[in-house]
Each structure stands twice: as C-alpha cells, then as structure tokens.
C-alpha cells in the first residue's frame, strides 16, 4: 500500500514527461510516417535526416504530408516581460515559414470589415494572456514542465517502520471520507432536483455520460462527457446558495479521504 500511490504518481509523471520531443514529421508513400529533421528543401525535392542519422532525398510527389517543428522564442523568466513590448501579436500576419499560433482565434470577418481592428486586438490580447499563463510555452509543454518539477520533489522519500494503529486510523478516515462523499453527492442531487427536474436529470447524466462517452468515443464522446459536467458546474454557480453546503462538504470529505490514504501510506 505504501508503494502504490508513489508508483501511480511516478507512472503518471513519466507518461507526461516522456511524451516524444517534437521534431519534423514526414509521411512518405510506401514508407510511412517518420520523425527526424528536414535538412534541405528545394522546389521539387526534400532532404530528410531520420532518427538514426541517415539522410534520404524524396521527390515532392512521393510525400503525402510534411510538418516542420514550431520554433518558439525562449521563455522569459520575469513576469514583467509582459510589459516589455517585445512579443509579436497574434493579429499580425505570421512570417513566411513560421508556424501559425495553434490557439489563435480564426478570423471570421471579411478583410474590409470595420470590426477587423477589434478582432485583431482581441486575438492579440488572448495570445498575450495565454503566453503569460503558460510562460510563453504551449499548454502541453507547461504540463510537462510542472510534471518534471513534481518528479524532482517526489524523489527523496524515506520509508517508515510499520505502524498498525496508524493504519487503522487511516482506514477509518478513508472509509469515512468515502461515505461522506457519497452522502453529500446525494445531497447535491437532491438540491438539483429541488431546483428543477431538468437540473436533476443533468446530475444523473453525469453518471450516464461516463458510459455513453466511452461507447461513442472520439469528439462526440468527449462532448457528451463534458456537457453534463459543465452544466453541473453552472448549477453550482447559478444556484450557489442551494448547492454550497453539499459542494463544500464534498470537498472536505475528499480531504478526509486523502488524509486517510496518507495515514495508510505512512503506516507501511
């Protein structure tokens, strides 16, 4: 029991941190997709160095698909760099060859629209805000960086001798936390049904969508799994005076559950 959470955490961190480093991709007819470096590009050929260092030359008509790695500016250390005015804005046209901002708001307006400056300003503001939140990295890199620092913290751990009393207390807390989680889950369901029958249906859909989303899979599955959760969150915001007791007590129950898990882990 002592090693289980550590193993799970380490596995999770490993999966996050071990996501393949991005490089250039090329998909050649008859050979499949490869990861490596695009060394040279001419009008009708492409020179490509694969992972083992061998350089291949392909004609353009042999290539199904090709993607160059996005080169990012170095992450700035200081939050004040936000005000230095050095960053490019999303509204400006990207330079030739540079990858476009993946999350930039697409333009839906015609070129001569009077609302164009407002749209560009919105896009630039959004990009500045995302750059600020994720240290100029994209969200995946941000997660990987957080995972690496967590991994560093979790490395030095010491084992303690077995302690039966601590284990028993841990089990009691674990069980109590689980029971109260269920009780206050039902309380939340009751308050949702009291606020309106459809709200109650939304709560029940949370359980149903867990199965439905897996049966459907893909974007539809994702959609059906997220909608009831988003609506439940909306319920908590809109009907806060009704939902607050159940929500806060569920969170405290979660804390009790994990405190029990901690005690159990410390006892072994």
């Amino acid at each position: 029991m002592r090693t289980l959470p550590r193993t799970a955490a380490a596995l999770f961190l490993f999966l996050l941190a071990a996501a393949p480093a991005r490089a250039d991709w090329i998909d050649v007819k008859g050979e499949g997709a490869m990861n490596g470096d695009i060394v040279e590009e001419t009008a009708d050929t492409v020179k490509f160095k694969d992972g083992e260092g061998r350089v291949h030359e392909y004609r353009r008509d042999q290539i199904n698909f090709m993607e160059k790695e996005k080169k990012k500016p170095k992450a700035s250390a200081s939050p004040m760099s936000l005000f230095s005015g050095k960053k490019e804005t999303a509204g400006a046209a990207p330079a030739a060859g540079a990858a476009a901002d993946k999350f930039a708001i697409r333009s839906f307006l015609p070129e001569d629209s009077p609302l164009k400056p407002a749209e560009e300003a919105l896009a630039a503001g959004g990009k500045t805000f995302r750059d600020y939140l994720y240290y100029d990295a994209d969200f995946v890199e941000y997660l990987q960086r957080s995972a690496r620092s967590l991994e560093k913290i979790s490395k030095d751990k010491t084992f303690k001798p077995s302690n039966l009393g601590l284990a028993l207390a841990g089990l009691v807390l674990l069980l109590a936390g689980m029971v109260f989680l269920v009780i206050y889950g039902f309380k939340l369901m009751m308050s949702m049904f009291e606020a309106g029958f459809l709200w109650g249906v939304v709560f029940l859909c949370n359980a149903g969508s867990a199965y439905l989303s897996r049966m459907l899979g893909g974007p539809f599955g994702l959609f059906f799994s997220v909608v009831p959760q988003a609506l439940s969150f909306a319920f908590v915001i809109l009907h806060w005076p009704v939902a607050r007791r159940a929500v806060t007590m569920q969170l405290y129950s979660l804390a009790v559950f994990f405190a029990g898990w901690n005690l159990l882990a410390m006892s072994m």
């Binding site: 939050p79 967590l150 809109l238 007791r245 929500v247 969170l251 804390a255 994990f258 882990a265």
Partner: protein, 124 residues
C-alpha cells in the same frame, strides 16, 4: 432586470447578515479546496513546503470563517485575494483567475456594505 438565474444575486448589495453568511461559505469553499489540494500534494510529494502552505491556509480560513466580525472577514478576504494574486503572478496557475475573480467580487461587496453602513451612499 433580465431574469437570468443568479444574476440578481450577483448584483445585489447584501445586508450584514447575508454578507456574513455568504463570506462564511466562500471562506469554507476556499478552505475545503485548499485542504483537498494540500492532502493530495502530501500524498504525491510528501510534506513539502507548498503542501504545508495549502494545509495551513485551509486551517486559517476555516478558523476565520467562524468569526462573525466585519473587519476580520474583510481582512481574510483581502489577505486571501492577495495570496491568490501573488500566486497568479509568480506561479501563473490558471485556476487562480477564477479565485481572484471571487476574491475581488467579495472585496467589492464588503466595501459597498461598509459605505451603506456609514450612510455615505444611497442603496436601493
């Protein structure tokens, strides 16, 4: 006013009792989140300074939520909002945006309430 559920609650000025009740639940909400976050951090990374900071914050906020004094509540709200703002500026935790909004909203409500109490503005 357009009848959007929750919007009336959002824009109204609370009475003293309502303000105490609302800030009680917000402090409890934040405290419960900090407690849950703290114990999960202990599980994943051990008793590290961030985990202890979360647990300490949870304990302080839970304690303060039971004190029904205006300036104590105001101090707790302002202090907690300052912590969230500092966290947002240094660690850039995106969830901080949500908590910062709640904190600023309650500071606004409490300042509005104190003006009402001292009769400096007319509230309807």
């Amino acid at each position: 006013m357009i009848a959007i559920p929750g919007l009336g609650w959002l824009f109204r000025i609370f009475t003293r009792d309502e303000l105490m009740e609302e800030s009680f639940w917000i402090l409890r909400l934040v405290s419960s989140m900090a407690a849950a976050g703290g114990v999960v951090q202990v599980l994943v990374a051990g008793f590290t300074p961030p985990a202890l900071a979360y647990l300490g914050l949870a304990a302080i906020l839970l304690g303060v939520s039971f004190i029904r004094l205006y300036w104590v509540r105001f101090g707790a709200m302002a202090g907690w909002t300052a912590v969230v703002a500092f966290d947002l500026a240094t660690r850039r935790n995106p969830f901080g945006c949500f908590f910062l909004a709640i904190g600023l909203y309650f500071i606004y409500k409490m300042l509005k309430y104190s003006q009402m109490y001292e009769g400096r503005t007319v509230m309807k």
